[in-house]
């Protein structure tokens, strides 16, 4: 009992000997605590990335402004992109998976708990390494602090000639290290999913989230190494004088783009599929219906995973590929819309005729559905090579991928946090504050990113430091910047909500949402061993079976 109590106290944040508490968190191999560490660090980096982009938006709010220097501007957008992808998105999805997946599978931990802790600390070290560049990269050369090469770091900009000093090296090493952590954690999740399921949990009875995270993990295992290989080549170029990306010695700058986007495009699905995963758990519970079309959903997930490996060069239409390649990558990219569309219709089918409860997690998922459809449609536009030639590297592209990552992923992440917070802490987040959080974020998101489409269509290129006043871009840029204010307010309310609910939030009980997956069958927060006895399941909704023994799911599946 004492073990459970100290666990609960530590997670609830009530005072304990702080040195003991710190020691406990640093040395923990418990998947739940590592999950909390992941999510906490990810939120920390989200705030940093948000501050960076807020400064950029201040600079762009006026034409011909000189609030910051062009050099600082380049560093800020590089750090913003790198931070949000590698230090917010990836750790957030691994954190939620860490906490939830063993509970969903009826397991007591991940397959390799110590490897799990190692993966987390590698990621955090990578994050600190990246930000240490602000202090350390100046170093001996005095050639500038943080990296300023953009998050995809095209050659030859990264060569010693154009990026002297060490800032680029910090970027390379930080991503290399945290990528290694991601790869190990994914191997861990795969092994857990394939070998640690409780009795009766066949693959086709796994919660949809577990299926999707399995596909995500396989993608990470397959596509992080190409990024690692590219980073190793870049290091060899920079330090040993190799010629991988050196066009003067016969090398190819395009090679970097191929290797990077072979990682980079599946990475979009690595980030977005977890959003689908949270939506697939939340929407059924708040529609009071089973997930519509479970097998089709599994097939669509696997389909997206497979297709995502063959679409990377749609990021490279503008560099001038051959006609055949353009046709192939346009076609394969358009194909991705098919399984994605299947998913959208399955969620709609789940909601249709359901008894919808508009709690905060569901609100975020509904907004996700609407926004993600728009993101998908602009994606279809950009997939068509001739249109891409026109729109490439404009704010239209920026609007598109922020619609995916913010309108899709960030919204479902908030939904997931509101959904699982009661399980993690034992207390519910305030619904009133949750609604404020939601509506401010929706309004801010729409103002910021819808207007970006217009700037792009008007021809404003991405990553420009400032712009002349006579192009008609200023009013749209001002709108974009105003939207950021709403988003900051939304995040501030979220932070306040977490802080307040940890102390005064309504006690949640084991199953506050009347949900159906195994994590809701144990206490909130769960004991360190998760389940007193390993559960046994007969269907996809074990808790439904428990609550309705007269009408178990098994007879319908």
């Amino acid at each position: 009992m004492t073990v459970i109590d100290s666990e609960a106290v530590a997670i609830g944040g009530v005072r304990q000997g702080w040195l003991d508490a710190l020691h406990g968190w640093v040395t923990t191999v418990d998947h739940k605590r590592i999950g909390i560490l992941y999510v906490g660090s990810a939120l920390f980096f989200m705030v940093i990335g948000g501050v960076e982009i807020s400064i950029i938006r201040l600079q762009l709010a006026q034409a011909e402004a000189h609030l910051i220097s062009p050099q600082t501007f380049n560093r800020l957008f590089t750090m913003h992109g790198t931070t949000m992808i590698f230090l917010f998105g990836m750790p957030m999805l691994f954190g939620i998976a860490n906490f939830v997946i063993p509970l969903m599978l009826g397991a007591r931990d991940l397959a390799f708990p110590r490897l799990n802790a190692f993966g987390f600390w590698l990621f955090l070290f990578g994050g600190f390494l990246l930000y240490y560049s602000y202090l350390g990269a100046e170093g001996l050369y005095g050639a500038g602090s943080a990296p300023d090469i953009g998050w995809f770091a095209y050659a030859p900009l990264t060569s010693k000639t154009f990026s002297p000093g060490n800032s680029t090296d910090y970027w390379i090493l930080a991503i290399l290290v945290s990528g290694f952590g991601s790869m190990l954690t994914s191997v861990n999740l795969i092994a857990t999913t394939l070998t640690m399921r409780c009795k009766g949990m066949t693959l086709m009875r796994m919660p949809m989230m577990v299926w999707i995270m399995l596909v995500v993990s396989v993608l990470v295992v397959l596509v992080i190494p190409p990024l690692t290989a590219a980073q190793v080549m870049l290091l060899l170029d920079r330090f040993l004088g190799a010629h991988f990306f050196d066009a003067q010695a016969g090398g190819s700058a395009l090679l970097w783009q191929h290797l990077f986007w072979f990682f980079g495009h599946p990475e979009v699905y690595i980030l977005m599929l977890p959003g689908f995963a949270y939506a697939s758990e939340i929407i059924p519970v708040f529609s009071r219906k089973v997930l519509f079309g479970y097998p089709a959903m599994v097939a669509a997930t696997v389909g997206i995973g497979v297709l995502s490996l063959g679409v990377w060069a749609h990021h490279m239409f503008a560099v001038g590929l051959s006609r055949d390649l353009n046709i192939f990558f346009t076609g394969s990219t358009l194909l991705v819309a098919v399984p994605t569309g299947i998913k959208i219709f399955n969620w709609l089918g789940t909601i249709y005729g359901g008894k919808i409860r508009f709690d905060t997690p569901m609100l975020f998922c509904l907004a996700f559905l609407a926004q993600f459809v728009v993101a998908g449609l602009t994606g279809v536009i950009l997939a068509i090579a001739p249109l891409d030639w026109q729109l490439s590297d404009s704010y239209f592209v920026v609007a598109h991928f922020h619609y995916v990552i913010v309108g899709g992923l960030l919204f479902t992440i908030f939904g997931a946090i509101y959904y699982w917070f009661p399980k993690v802490t034992g207390r519910r987040l305030s619904e009133t504050l949750g609604r404020w959080n939601f509506w401010l974020l929706v309004i801010g998101f729409q103002i910021t990113f819808t207007t970006m489409h217009v700037q792009g269509l008007l021809g404003m290129p991405r990553r420009i430091y400032t712009y002349p006043a006579d192009r008609g871009w200023e009013i749209w840029n001002q709108a974009t910047s105003v939207g950021v204010v709403f988003q900051i307010a939304a995040v501030a309310i979220f932070a306040f909500n977490v802080w307040r609910s940890l102390r005064k939030g309504q006690i949640a009980g084991d199953d506050p949402w009347d949900a159906w997956t195994l994590e809701w069958s144990t206490t909130s927060p769960p004991p360190s061993y998760n389940f007193e006895t390993i559960p046994e399941v007969q269907s996809r909704r074990p808790l439904w079976d428990l609550k309705h023994p007269d009408d178990p799911d098994g007879i319908h599946e």
Partner: protein
């Protein structure tokens, strides 16, 4: 079908190590895959010599050493699973020696290339791709030798028993993988690329 595999006796003993190692191997495969593709892509694109046809010789002895070490490590793991720790130690030592001989052969090849032919990683694209691909493989051989030496020392100290045979088998999977990579490297560098 999977329902049976999770509950079937024997299989659920400890498959997580196998799945984990297979995941690692899949990951490493795409890593080497990139270097192999880049090697193929850059064949014949060096702007200046020395070119592979002039300086590379088939590393027959090294290849024989490395490939036969796959057999010795298989004999070693088999001996351990039959609780014959002394036989295990001998075969394991043989594997380490064969791996080390492979590294010695690589070192000789490299020193010849560097000092006689003046080929370094910065000479031309051939040097760049050759040293990085063969070097990445040699680094994996080195890691394998370090891990096997660790296990051998633990075994001499009496810590390795039949119950550890599954773990040692996982190490042998890694070693087999390193061998398989060598077959690919050999084909690309010494057969196709020459």
């Amino acid at each position: 079908m999977t329902a049976q595999t999770t509950v079937a006796p024997g299989f659920s003993k400890s498959p997580k190590g196998r799945v984990g190692m297979l995941g690692m191997i899949a990951s490493e495969s795409t890593f080497f895959g990139c270097f192999l593709v880049v090697y193929l892509f850059y064949i014949g694109r060096s702007l200046n010599g020395p070119y592979p046809g002039e300086v590379l010789e088939l590393p027959i002895a090294a290849t024989v050493c490395l490939l036969s070490s796959s057999i010795t490590i298989w004999l070693a793991t088999r001996a351990l699973s039959r609780d014959r720790t002394n036989v295990f130690g001998l075969w394991f030592l043989a594997t380490i020696v064969l791996g080390a001989l492979f590294l010695v052969a690589t070192a000789q090849e490299w020193s010849g290339l560097i000092y006689e032919h003046g080929l370094t990683i910065r000479t031309n694209l051939f040097g760049t791709t050759f040293y990085s691909l063969v070097g990445a493989h040699a680094a994996h051989v080195t890691i394998g030798i370090v891990l096997m030496t660790l296990v051998l020392v633990l075994s001499l100290l009496g810590y390795v028993h039949v119950r550890d045979s599954e773990r040692v088998e996982m190490l042998s999977w890694y070693w087999h993988f390193v061998d398989a990579v060598w077959i690919a490297v050999f084909t690309v560098v010494y057969v196709v690329g020459r």
